[in-house]
């Protein structure tokens, strides 16, 4: 499976141990599910000849990744059928992730929108079927082109998809993304290692601290920090709690997209109960940014276990009720059974991971296959389904919530004692007791807090099983207080790329059911 494909602008990098001369590097990250191994291929490119042959014929999901590399770095992929911009507007000038492109909006002329500019932009947003090799009519029908989004109630955010319709049947469709591109990867190049943590929360914005985890684990690998058992267990506990709130949001909106109004009111009530616990522990609801390099922001407060126990006791009956009322409901079953179904081979060809992959029966969960942060110490199962249809994707997430509750119960029962910060010079922010020894320790503390820690020049990669699939951070350090390049691989990006293949020949309501069942948020697609 092609797990990831992107590039690095090497022109300003000084720590390049044994790497060939290059201005840009394109990397292909391949992952074998059966062998549970990775290979990363890197291709050195010179500025004068920024082009490579496309790999779409081998890996179908390279399509969007190559478009992104073109958009962000200006690298041409010869033979690519539609090498257009994907994240930036088509009227944009320049390639943002190049080192010579400005990062801040305030470095640039302030944004203005004139009446004329509005006309021009609207013109550029116009969908032209010919650009995508689509016909406006067949021998016996005129096709209708339906523009769904960028703002549509069932599109879960700023997502646009243009449908080519013959009656109500979808002949073909073209997803259009980039309406939610916040430039998180560029942002990482100007924030210190420490101050980038809050930005990670906002990648999969319903995943909360789950997003901190791959980032801090990758930084800890670079720094060589080993954390205590308590830190690991608290991290796992908070991640699983966020997995539950995220899945509850999924369940409510998924059923609402199918036309059931009430479930969203019930699941949001449960989410509120989850947030009560999260808020008591972290002090924030959605984006706590609570993990730190080498530890946590603070220790668990007194009385956290009774709160958590109350939540763990509350949920099982509710989950059973959702199953009874919704998943056993014949309307829901008719709308979702055998809809947008795909098998494991198809999923792997498109780079699908997480619950959507496991709904096809493929047992690949990083918490079991490549345990991180102490998951190997927990007793839980990986739920699987068989058909890989919209129904299985919904049901599987209910089962996953049950397993997360099991993990939470084990955390409550066996929370290890210990420090909430690792004993290491690069732990950020450093323990306060160390500062108060003498003037030297005070200065060191001051530098580490104001400029941030300096990490050795190296590369590290960490992937985790996030709420929506595999989320990974590939960090390149150039021996400085900031990251040289941060590549964020998000699960929702390939999930959206797969839509056209699944929907050809389907109906519009099937598309809505499928969109609901993918479980994506746009920030997790466009970053």
């Amino acid at each position: 499976m092609l797990f990831d494909l992107s590039a690095i602008d090497e022109r300003l990098r000084s720590h390049r141990h044994g790497l060939p001369e290059a201005d840009f590097t394109v990397f292909y990250h391949l992952l074998s599910v059966s062998g549970n191994r990775d290979i990363m291929l890197k291709v050195a490119l010179s500025e004068r000849d920024l082009s490579l042959p496309t790999v779409i014929s081998v890996y179908r999901n390279a399509n969007w990744y190559e478009r992104e590399a073109w958009d962000m770095f200006g690298i041409r992929f010869e033979g690519h059928p539609n090498l257009f911009r994907i994240l930036m507007p088509s009227t944009w000038q320049g390639h943002p992730l190049r080192k010579d492109h400005h990062a801040r909006a305030t470095e640039f002329d302030p944004y203005t929108l004139t009446v004329e500019g509005q006309h021009r932009e609207q013109e550029a947003l116009q969908f032209k079927p010919e650009d995508w090799g689509m016909q406006r009519q067949s021998a016996d029908a005129d096709f209708m082109f339906l523009n769904l989004g960028p703002n549509h109630p069932s599109a879960h955010g700023a997502f646009r998809i243009v449908l080519q319709l013959d009656g109500e049947e979808i002949v073909d469709c073209v997803p259009d993304i980039g309406y939610h591109h916040r430039g998180a990867e560029k942002m990482a190049e100007r924030q210190s290692w420490h101050s980038f943590i809050p930005y990670t929360d906002r990648i999969d914005y319903v995943g909360g601290v789950m997003n901190n985890l791959p980032y801090v684990l990758a930084v800890e690998k670079l720094a060589g920090i080993e954390v205590t058992g308590r830190i690991q267990t608290v991290r796992v506990m908070m991640c699983e709690l966020f997995r539950i709130t995220s899945h509850l949001l999924f369940l409510g909106t998924y059923l609402q997209d199918l036309g059931a109004m009430s479930p969203v009111f019930y699941t949001f009530t449960d989410r509120q109960k989850g947030y009560d616990v999260i808020e008591a522990i972290t002090g924030f609801r959605m984006h706590p940014a609570w993990f730190r390099i080498g530890g946590l922001m603070q220790d668990l407060p007194k009385g956290w276990d009774t709160l958590m126990q109350r939540f763990v006791d509350w949920m099982p009956a509710r989950l059973r009720e959702y199953e009874r009322v919704m998943m056993e409901n014949s309307l829901v079953r008719d709308r979702t059974k055998h809809i947008a179904a795909f098998d494991t081979a198809n999923a792997l060809a498109w780079g699908v991971t997480g619950p959507n992959l496991r709904a096809t029966g493929c047992d690949f969960d990083l918490r079991k296959q490549r345990p991180y942060s102490g998951y190997e110490n927990f007793d839980f199962e990986i739920p699987l389904a068989q058909n890989g249809d919209a129904f299985d994707r919904g049901q599987l997430r209910i089962d996953e919530m049950r397993q997360s509750l099991r993990i939470l119960q084990q955390c409550i029962n066996n929370m290890p004692a210990g420090d909430y910060k690792a004993d290491h010079p690069l732990t950020t922010p450093p323990p306060r007791e160390r500062m108060l020894e003498h003037i030297e320790t005070l200065i060191t503390h001051f530098l580490q807090v104001s400029w941030g820690p300096v990490l050795p020049g190296n590369e590290s990669l960490q992937m985790i099983e996030a709420t929506k699939g595999i989320n990974s951070y590939y960090l390149t350090s150039d021996g400085s207080t900031m990251s040289y390049r941060t590549r964020i691989r998000t699960p929702s990006f390939p999930h959206l790329q797969q839509i056209p293949e699944l929907m050809r020949g389907g109906f519009v309501p099937d598309l809505i059911a499928h969109l609901g069942s993918i479980d994506f948020v746009m920030a997790d697609v466009d970053r």
Binding site: L125, H181, F265, H287
Partner: protein, 226 residues
């Protein structure tokens, strides 16, 4: 508006009058002077205005529009634990043409800005805009090439709700502030009565209003217990 006035007494016919009978003259709208001449009808305009505003502010229909994280908290405000129906704003409309106000809940992207403008233009008057969250207010923590530094660069904003993201309660407070401001607004009562301009009241700054009370807080709760 001018009128053609025909008085009843002039219609009494003399022998040599021609048809049509009566003398006609062009005059200004008589109500114009009448209304302002008496204390009672002057009050009537007040009463009418506040009745209409009362109606408007208590049945605000939001446009179902979300951009990012803030939209999740906005949706949370719509569900049972926070229950926005208490403020008469639970009728989410999927079409901008049926909506009264739009909440810019999330980051305003350069690629999305023309789309937001288009949707705003499709909304019918009277319409209002709430900017929810730091990104929509000012760009927030995203001072980056792809983000417009505040939605007020191209839309007129009525209420700013701070936070990243704001709590659902903060959104509800923002909604109530919008309601207060609508109560004070002066819009034409019809397309023939009065000045056709929209007069938006300058509302007091919340920061200044609450500063004295806020700086009195000296003891903060420790985070060590729940």
């Amino acid at each position: 508006m001018t009128y053609t006035l025909t008085r009843v007494e002039d219609a009494l016919a003399a022998e040599n009058d021609r048809y049509p009978l009566g003398e006609r003259q062009r005059v200004e709208d008589p109500m114009q002077q009448q209304v302002h001449r008496s204390v009672f009808t002057g009050k009537l305009e007040e009463v009418l205005n506040s009745t209409v505003n009362w109606g408007r502010k208590n049945s605000l229909w939001p446009y179902n529009f979300g951009l990012s994280c803030c939209y999740v908290e906005m949706t949370t405000a719509f569900t049972s634990p926070h229950d926005i129906a208490r403020f008469g704003a639970e009728v989410i409309r999927a079409s901008p043409r049926q909506a009264d106000f739009m909440v810019i809940a999330g980051t305003c992207f350069v690629k999305m800005a023309p789309v937001i403008q288009q949707l705003y233009d499709q909304m019918l008057e009277p319409k209002w805009v709430i900017s929810m969250g730091s990104c929509a207010n000012s760009g927030g923590m995203y001072d980056i090439y792809s983000v417009v530094q505040g939605v007020d660069k191209f839309l007129p904003v009525d209420v700013y709700v701070p936070g990243c993201p704001p709590r659902p309660e903060a959104f509800l407070q923002g909604l109530q502030l919008l309601q207060d401001s609508i109560q004070e607004e002066r819009r034409p009562l019809s397309w023939v009565v009065g000045d056709q301009g929209v007069y938006r009241a300058e509302m007091p700054s919340q920061r200044e209003k609450h500063r004295d009370r806020r700086i009195q807080v000296t003891e903060l709760r420790t985070p060590d217990s729940i």
